[in-house]
């Protein structure tokens, strides 16, 4: 295990299926990480301390999470398989379908996750993080890939 998170949170995570990609921070969380908004934390918290997209219900419900990601162009899709021209995210939920986590797909088909206030990692599959804390990946969303502004044709 390469990170500082409690190992019991992710029983299926092992040295061969993930890499730590940056150090722990509280400045963003998995929801904002998946949304590529690392400047702030996203959370529909009842105290209204954290950012949540305007006009989206502040509820720990999957429909609210789907609406939140719709505000940045994502739509629900059928599978987590990589699809040319699209970027994808996955939403995890527990047995009661309460959202627990969000991951974003990398161009190589792997996934990137911020593990709470701990490190962020690249993991080979969505199943790597399934378990007692995050439950299972249940909803997949996609949007058209944004052009890379730093790549110029030669």
């Amino acid at each position: 295990m390469s990170g500082s998170w409690p190992p019991e949170d992710f029983p299926d995570l092992n040295e061969s299926n993930h890499n730590k990609t940056s150090e722990a921070t509280v400045e963003c969380n998995c929801l904002s990480w998946a949304a590529d908004d690392v400047s702030r934390r996203w959370e529909p918290d009842p105290m209204h301390d954290y950012y949540w997209p305007p006009d989206v219900p502040r509820e720990m419900k999957m429909e609210a999470f789907i609406q939140a990601y719709r505000t940045i162009g994502y739509e629900v899709c059928d599978t987590p398989e990589p699809q040319a021209g699209f970027e994808k995210i996955a939403l995890y939920a527990d047995a009661d379908n309460t959202p627990t986590h969000a991951a974003k797909q990398l161009p190589n088909g792997h996934w990137s996750s911020k593990l709470g206030d701990f490190e962020d990692i690249e993991h080979a599959t969505l199943a790597c993080l399934e378990g007692p804390l995050y439950g299972k990946s249940k909803i997949y969303m996609k949007r058209r890939s944004r052009p890379n502004l730093f790549t110029f044709p030669v």
């Binding site: 702030r40 105290m47 949540w52």
Partner: protein, 160 residues
Amino acid sequence: MLIRAEIASLTSQLYPFDLQQNSSATLREWNVPPQSVIQSAFPPSTGGPSQPIVVSAKPLEHEMDVRPQFDELCKKWKSERHATSFSSAMAMHPAYQRIIGMGNKALPLILTELQKELDHWFWALKAISGEDPVPSECRGKMAEMANAWLNWGRARGYVR
């Protein structure tokens, strides 16, 4: 700053009726900042003070004693944290709830902790104080949220 008003001699002026028996009354329960002007509810004609009274406050010894308890709860809360992204889950930890239960005594300790390390203290600060000094545009921006609360705490003498 945890406060005790040095009001033993003033208590009878402020509270000429039943409360005057309580010469060690603290103002903490009423969330009175360390330097406060107290306006008595009782007009001079009923035995109240003729002028508002400036209260000079300082920590009580037993209030300073909450530091070890706070430190223990804080350590427990941090060490038993799971990889959740949700502050609402973190705030439900029994140690965090006990810190909230400490009330105003915990405010200077929480703010000092927040000065040392960014963390999810906003729920507790808001729950205890009933206030929210964070501008809406700073929601989710941890450093800016912390600064807003620290400025709030400095204005009330809770933290330097």
